[in-house]
């Protein structure tokens, strides 16, 4: 994995899927994100970590504009995100997202959860949507549960369904917002396995996670955020073995000490 990024200068030539330029965001007077600059190349796997309240989630939620930024610009597939609703809906079609609490629609079956957006957003025939959905459910090993409701599934199963639901829209980028934080320890692995498989298929991914094992084995780049800033970014080996900044060292010593 790290070969790709061995020469950082060369990667600039690859096509950029997401770029954040001098982005700032405030909640009232509180400056949540400070001058964020980030470029994500096609096929790149990025893990974002940092203490809670550091702005990690807010940053990736800005990428599909669940949160609005105030200054600077965000480009997804070369399109700048503005408050134009129609343009935003087009961008969101190509950006999948998984949430900490899964957010499956509890009043629909698993299958209905998966085909809703393909039918109404991608204008796909129902039959084709069902085929597509079953395909992805098989990929996350949950096809036999397709007629059940989310409330009947375990947390790990629900998160795998949520991933499949996003994949049905054939996104170009996947955003993961602490996908394993609400799961029991024995379920974390089944979700990480699915994510790792996705990464191996070449999906562009941005993951906010505290799973450092996942970061080490899958990420092309690890980004450390604190106090609303990107403090340090590096490839995983260098990041974990030789952190440059004091704050990074402190954070790593805290989470890796036990």
């Amino acid at each position: 994995m790290s070969e790709q990024n061995a020469a950082p200068a060369a990667t600039i030539e690859q096509d950029t899927v997401i770029s954040l330029v001098d982005m700032n965001k405030w909640y009232g007077d509180f400056h949540v994100l400070k001058n964020i600059n980030l470029n994500v190349q096609r096929g790149e796997r990025i893990v974002i970590c940092g203490p809670s309240g550091s702005g990690k989630s807010t940053m990736i939620r800005c990428i599909n504009q669940l949160e609005e930024h105030q200054t600077g610009s965000i480009l997804v597939n070369g399109q700048e995100l503005t408050s134009n609703t129609k343009a935003l809906e087009r961008v969101r079609k190509d950006v999948g997202m998984c949430f900490q609490h899964f957010n499956l629609f509890p009043h629909m079956t698993i299958l209905e959860n998966l085909i809703l957006a393909p039918i109404w957003v991608r204008k796909m025939p129902r039959k084709a949507a069902i085929e597509l959905a079953m395909n992805y459910l098989e990929r996350v090993n949950i096809a036999e549960q397709s007629e059940k409701y989310p409330g009947q599934l375990s947390g790990g199963q629900q998160q795998r369904v949520a991933i499949a639901r996003s994949l049905c829209m054939a996104p170009k980028v996947m955003l993961f917002d602490e996908p394993t934080s609400a799961l029991d320890p024995e379920m974390i692995k089944e979700v990480l396995d699915v994510m790792e498989e996705l990464a191996n298929d070449g999906m562009t991914m941005l993951c906010v996670t505290h799973e450092m094992g996942f970061a080490k084995s899958v990420a092309d780049r690890v980004i450390f955020m604190d106090g609303g800033e990107i403090v340090e970014e590096n490839e995983p080996d260098a990041f974990f073995n030789n952190p440059q900044m004091d704050r990074t060292q402190l954070f790593l010593s805290q989470i890796l000490s036990h």
């Binding site: 599909n64 969101r92 609490h101 957010n103 499956l104």
Partner: protein, 391 residues
């Protein structure tokens, strides 16, 4: 030690059992004694006043006029028919109120959570004003405004062709079925059947090709256009009995007296505020993450509302709205305050004339109970459809 404790506890428990048995028997005895005393007293009083109990009075002549009636009625009809007129009036007013209060409630409830601060604020003011004023005052106020605000019969406003608005009420043309009316009904029937098939076909097309249609507008056109064509081509299909000014009032057509309009308007305004609150709280109760997930999938705000938020909101909206419908039906008895002859008003007149209070009250209670049980039943069926399946 432990043995003696358990023995003492056992004794305590049996003593408690005995005590509770005693109190239960005492309570039951008091209730039965009271009921027996009331029965005896009632019988004595009825005999003293020479009032015959039983429902035979229903076939006697009523002898009093009723202002609003949806069925033919004259003072020479029986008490039974007079009461039937009142019951039908209650039903009619209640159904109209439920329909309009629901529409108003949904509009105001959605308005309260709309992004537009002006609209949201106005809806909030409406809700807070209406639900904090006694409904009786609202009815009296609306009735007063209706009577004072509207012109006299001579200056009646023609608000639609041949429809008049005046202090005496709302007068509109009454449709009368002609000889060829049957063709219009056939056309309407065909239109409805056609719509059913169209909807099935549209659903199938959506499933197979992913193409969607403006189904609401096409359905409306299918239902409305055929009868209109029949009406235009044939003669003597549907004619209108037009209200005409004769002497001091309009004659002919359909009449909605100000009392009826005020009752419906007042109750709808009042109860709509409660339903609006239910709708608002239902929408707010849906977790923020649901909307975010739908948005992240690229669903439009309208789709998100329709397929994700509203179905979940209904879970909390339906039970509380069932209560509001029941209250609405019961509030309709306040019609007596503004002189609309609902069931309670007509029954009250009867009690005044013949003193059959127990029977009339029994009928009132029976009818209200029936209406509200039917509402509960329908709402429970709806509620069951929206419950979530859990492990």
């Amino acid at each position: 030690m432990s043995k003696s404790t358990s023995a003492r506890l056992g004794g305590l428990f049996s003593y408690r059992n005995l005590l509770s048995c005693f109190y239960q028997t005492l309570t039951a005895g008091i209730v039965i004694a009271c009921a027996y005393y009331l029965l005896l007293a009632t019988q004595e009083n009825l005999e003293a006043r020479h009032i015959e109990s039983g429902f035979s009075f229903l076939s006697q002549e009523a002898g009093f006029p009723i202002g609003d009636s949806l069925i033919s009625y004259s003072p020479s009809d029986t008490y039974g028919r007079a009461l039937l007129v009142g019951i039908i009036n209650t039903f009619f007013a209640a159904i109209l109120c439920i329909i309009f209060a629901t529409i108003l409630g949904i509009v105001m409830g959605v308005a309260q959570v709309s992004g537009n601060p002006l609209i949201a604020r106005m809806a909030e003011v409406y809700v807070e004003v209406m639900r904090n004023i006694p409904v009786l005052l609202i009815l009296l106020f609306v009735y007063g405004v209706v009577l004072v605000g509207l012109p006299s019969v001579k200056q009646a406003i023609e608000f639609i062709p041949d429809g008049f608005l005046s202090q005496r009420g709302i007068f509109v043309p009454r449709p009368i079925a002609g000889e060829n009316f049957i063709y219009l009904m056939i056309a309407l029937g065909l239109g409805i059947v056609g719509t059913v098939f169209f909807l099935k076909w549209a659903k199938k097309t959506l499933d197979i090709t992913g193409k969607s249609f403006p189904t609401i507008w096409i359905s409306l056109a299918l239902i409305i256009i055929p009868p209109v064509i029949i009406q235009a081509t044939f003669s003597d299909v549907l004619t209108w009995e037009v209200p005409e000014l004769k002497g001091f009032n309009f004659k002919g057509g359909w009449v909605f007296r100000p009392e009826f309009a005020a009752l419906v308007f007042g109750l709808v305004l009042y109860r709509g505020a409660f339903i609006a609150e239910n709708v608002r709280s239902g929408i707010v109760s849906v977790q923020k993450g649901q909307r975010e997930a739908a948005t992240a999938l690229g669903l439009s705000p309208e789709r998100t509302m329709r397929d994700v938020v509203l179905p979940q909101a209904l879970r909390t909206v339906i039970p509380s709205t069932t209560n509001d419908y029941a209250s609405l039906v019961k509030d309709s008895s306040l019609a007596i305050a503004i002189g609309f002859p609902d069931m309670v008003s007509v029954g009250g007149t009867m009690i005044g004339q013949n003193g059959q209070a127990i029977e009339v009250i029994a009928i009132w209670m029976g009818i209200y109970l029936c209406i509200n049980l039917i509402i509960s039943l329908l709402m429970n069926i709806a509620n069951n459809k929206f419950q979530l399946v859990e492990r």
